[in-house]
């Protein structure tokens, strides 16, 4: 299955992926309306320091701890994609406590949201990848346990 990967050697730390993610998931058609003057709650985020930067989003793990740990049964894996049913989430943050990758964060309303690969929003493919100016973020099939 294709996933989002980051080549950290190429990551500029520009945070554009965060903007593109927030816009893609806003449901709005105008980027200015979606982002200007707002605190962003993207589903990908850039970590690092002055030496190295890298973007982190959901790994869509083979055996996801978040799915097993969700106290509301709100997280599931469907066709390889780890998804959250926001109507069931109560914002307990147990998924944040168990995700080894630090890939989950709540949205503006305190309810969890996560990268679902833009498969169901207007983009249809990860907006972070499309908009990465240095092609540090890629969407591809890689080997390993599945």
């Amino acid at each position: 299955m294709k996933r989002v990967y980051v080549n950290e050697e190429w990551c500029l730390g520009c945070h554009l992926c965060e903007y593109n993610c927030a816009f893609a998931n806003s449901g709005l058609e105008d980027m200015v309306l979606a982002l200007k003057g707002r605190k962003l709650f993207p589903r990908i985020h850039v970590e690092g320091d002055d030496r190295i930067t890298f973007a982190v989003s959901c790994r869509h793990c083979t055996d996801p701890l978040c799915v097993k740990s969700c106290i509301a049964g709100a997280i599931s894996k469907q066709d390889g994609v780890v998804k959250i049913d926001r109507s069931k989430c109560v914002g307990c943050l147990t998924c944040v406590l168990v995700c080894p990758y630090g890939a989950l964060a709540p949205g503006e309303d305190g309810i969890m949201q996560k990268c679902e690969l833009c498969l169901e929003n207007a983009c249809g493919a990860p907006a972070c990848v499309t908009g990465c100016p240095n092609r540090a973020i890629v969407y591809e099939e890689r080997g390993g346990a599945e």
């Binding site: 970590e47 890298f54 740990s69 943050l93 990758y101 390993g144 346990a145």
Partner: protein, 412 residues
Amino acid sequence: MKRYVIVGNGTAAVGCIEGIRAVDREGEITVVSGESRPVYSRPLISYYLEGRTDLVRMRYRGNSFYADNGCRVLYGRRAAAVDPSLRAVKLDDGTELIYDKLCIAAGSRSFVPPFEGLDSVKDRFTFMTLDDALALEQALGTGRDKRVLIVGAGLIGLKCAEGIIDRAKSVTVCDLADRVLSSILDGECAAIVQKHLEEHGITVMPGDTAVKFDARRAEMKSGRSVEFDVLVLAVGVRANTELIKAAGGNVNRGIIVNEKMETDLADVYAAGDCTEGFDASLGERRVLAILPNAYAQGQTAGTNMAGGDRTLDNAIPLNSIGFFGLHMMTAGSYTGEMTEERNGPALRRFFVEDGLLKGFILIGDTVRAGIYTSLIRDRIPLETLEFGPAAHEATSAIYSREARRKRFGGVV
């Protein structure tokens, strides 16, 4: 065709069903459900009273879960005995179920100490099941005129307090321990939480508990008395171990299981709050009555029951809980050297022993805490990381470039 019997219908049972079905699509699964309802999220009962979920949304799995997984569910039935020599479970109505593989996922029950005069209290409740929550809801009514006394300031008692504060005239919580959440917080952290609870209208009485009841009055250990209309008993829970004990299996505070969730009885597994498994942070057996562990144990049991191979050897205590907007997370064991970081109202404590992170308490700043959890769970030597005493932000930048490539560069 294999016959599977699961005693219990909670989170561990769901893990078990999904574990079995990942290996065996054909076998016959029978679920013995004491509660007369499909599986729901037990930790959500306080959110239900708070109005943050409802009876439909708090279902743990979708409507077609049992049908999709080919399960027969016997609602309102309880297992009365297990006979390992006959591979039989006898139910409370006399029915006998024959199994090839059995999983005991019987959970735990509220422990109610023998208080003097308890029978004189008309509206008294425990707070464990949805039926408990619905009964409490009914007793509180809609008049917001009931004074509630909750005995026990642990996770259950305090979540109950938060859940009902807007439905009650007053909420008082007492606990014999000298602090709130004594099983997961140290004194200083507990003081922060207590202050926050008090700011939101809850009266907290640490180091004091009810010793005697007389209708609507509790006589306290301190000599004080508390008047109330509704009583909630959240003193503690006990693992349901009786079935295995009576069948001659090894039982301590929970049913003893190995890393495959096998009991010492042939073909009998156990999972969830009724068990005593291994705590990897402590290096000892312990009852880990938390939902993530229940699922993981159930899934491990189910996989192995169906002939697959799964082990669970990295379970640790984990709690993520919030009260009135203040969030806290705890993990592992609080042994070894403690380092602390304060940032405004946020407090974070880390416990390091033998070069390993053993536990942490985070209050108010919980961003990406799972990065720390995985250091405990996976026993990652801190010397391989840039994890200093001032680990002031959870980040995967603590890993070497090579280690990060392994974590993020392929399928995990």
